[in-house]
Symmetry: C2
């Protein structure tokens, strides 16, 4: 029986790096008591530095009532770190053997009704939870760097994870100010990293082929897709760009362009089924809003972020 | 002999669609006299609608002194449209035969010292300029949609284009408030669209395989990579994420991860040459600024755009 989300006051973070420290800062800023487990006392300054750096930004975005860095406890004693935990966010090194041994321990040490989430980007929970005696409450909660600023957390369980633990993690992350995405199933790289990785590999190909420099790649991304991607994902960007016809027009009219050599990545076969799922997916996001309303919203929000960035750069 | 950038007062746009109309709105907002050529009188309302929609956003971002929609002239007479032009931005339909015939005409009609730029996303200037008698002054100036908001314009010439025409176009776009990127050479899809297309094809694969829905894809992009991509491209994002070691650490330590199945796109071979070009490219962008300075700048700008979007959404 998992606890009421609203009753959670104490979060334990594991790890002193940018991800572990970033999570600690985030939960402190949202008003939780945070116990940070670190592997060795020597890591204390690094952890504190990450938290202090993050705090500038978290203060600027607005702290929860009562939030304070004074509510942080740091310890090298794992049993003590998790003894009273109501949620554990693990950001240990990305080595499978380390994580498996850690989850075997956590499975015994962490109170029975407490969800344990891993920040791993490269491993699956099915692998990590192998030797954990209470694997049902272990999930992945994969953040984006820097974790104290970017809202996304990708949530997915392993083979032994109970659906209610995934549900609880999604609800808790949302309650704690994040934007959780519950994945349909375990996929290497999750959603956002897969998309980013496709882009990154194309970028490496372009540099390798003398088609663009790193500076040109970054310049193109920042001044082209990025401001729009902040307010619309790629699906809705194409849906709205095609006017009233939306994604159906995009795929029916420009489908053949998927065969053009516009990246080294081959497109999937544009089957009727894929077409329909893209169109229905965009209609669901649109939720009855027509082209003009969505385009006006897009423009208003792009104006806001462009103006904010311009102001931040001329301060 | 191309004109002094500062002497340009009159711009001609060709096309009544979202791109042609968007360009007309942009140049009007920057204080130019704009003559818009449209194919038929029936297109007049559509052109005006695009300009009127764009104007809300352009006003919000700030108009140039004297900028006014009253400085727009619309005509279906191509010769008249370009007679006094000091710059031509062509956004005709994306069909090679149409563009080739148009550039044959424009080559005769447009004053000899006037650069002609094409908004094409799918064709090369080498193809388009084939039948143009004054091809040396024809370039591609590829915008991102919506062209009145997103700053990027990718500039590249064809086989017959003179370098000074490319240089002039870059300078003029920058003068006119855009963010021009001069490409090293003609590449299908340019830079930004290639990167976006790699991401888009991976997204289609994920939907086709039941790994994610369009809604999840958009949610992941908007809440994960996008806010950071507004302030750092992917190269600098990885450079700064790796601390003092920067891109060198990223490639030396995580290079093997390029072989992981984190997208359907195969990575290029990570040769010493590619590694060095990535590292040097990032060092050039960093321009002597160290990890801490760059991370602090990143955070400050992410805070600004996140706060602006939150404010726009709660208005």
């Amino acid at each position: 029986m998992l606890p009421d989300i609203l009753s959670v006051r104490r979060v334990t973070t594991i790890g002193a790096g940018p991800i572990g420290g970033g999570w600690a800062a985030h939960f402190l800023a949202r008003g939780f008591d945070v116990t940070a487990y670190i592997h060795a006392d020597a890591e204390r300054p690094a952890l504190q530095a990450v938290i202090d750096t993050a705090w500038f930004s978290l203060e600027a975005l607005g702290l929860a009532p009562g939030a304070s860095r004074a509510r942080l406890t740091v310890t090298t004693d794992l049993a003590r770190a998790v003894r009273d935990a109501q949620f554990v966010q693990e950001s240990a090194p990305e080595r499978l053997a380390i994580k498996q041994a850690l989850y075997a321990e956590l499975g015994e040490l962490v109170p029975g009704d407490c969800v344990i989430a891993s920040s791993t980007s490269g491993l699956t929970m099915t692998e990590i939870q192998r030797d954990c005696a209470s694997a049902w409450r272990t999930v992945i909660g994969h953040p984006f760097n820097p974790p104290y600023l970017l809202p996304l957390v990708e949530v997915v369980g392993g083979a032994k994870t109970a659906p209610e633990a995934e549900n609880w993690a999604v609800d808790f992350y949302r309650h704690a100010g994040k934007a959780p995405l519950r994945m349909l199933r375990e996929v290497p790289g999750f959603v956002a990293t897969r998309l980013q990785e496709a882009l990154w590999r194309e970028a490496l190909h372009m540099v390798a082929n003398g088609e663009a420099t790193p500076e040109q790649i970054d310049f193109a991304l920042m001044n082209g897709p990025a401001p729009r991607m902040m307010v619309q994902g790629q699906c809705m960007a194409f849906h709205v760009a095609c006017g009233e016809g939306g994604m159906a027009t995009n795929l029916d009219q420009f489908g053949p362009a998927l065969k053009w050599p516009w990246t080294r990545l081959e497109a999937p076969e544009l089957t009727q089924d894929l077409r329909d799922r893209m169109v229905e997916g965009c209609n669901e996001i649109a939720a009855g809003r027509g082209f003009e309303e969505l385009a006006a919203l897009r423009d208003r929000e792009i104006v806001a972020v462009l103006a904010a960035l311009r102001a931040a750069r001329t301060d």
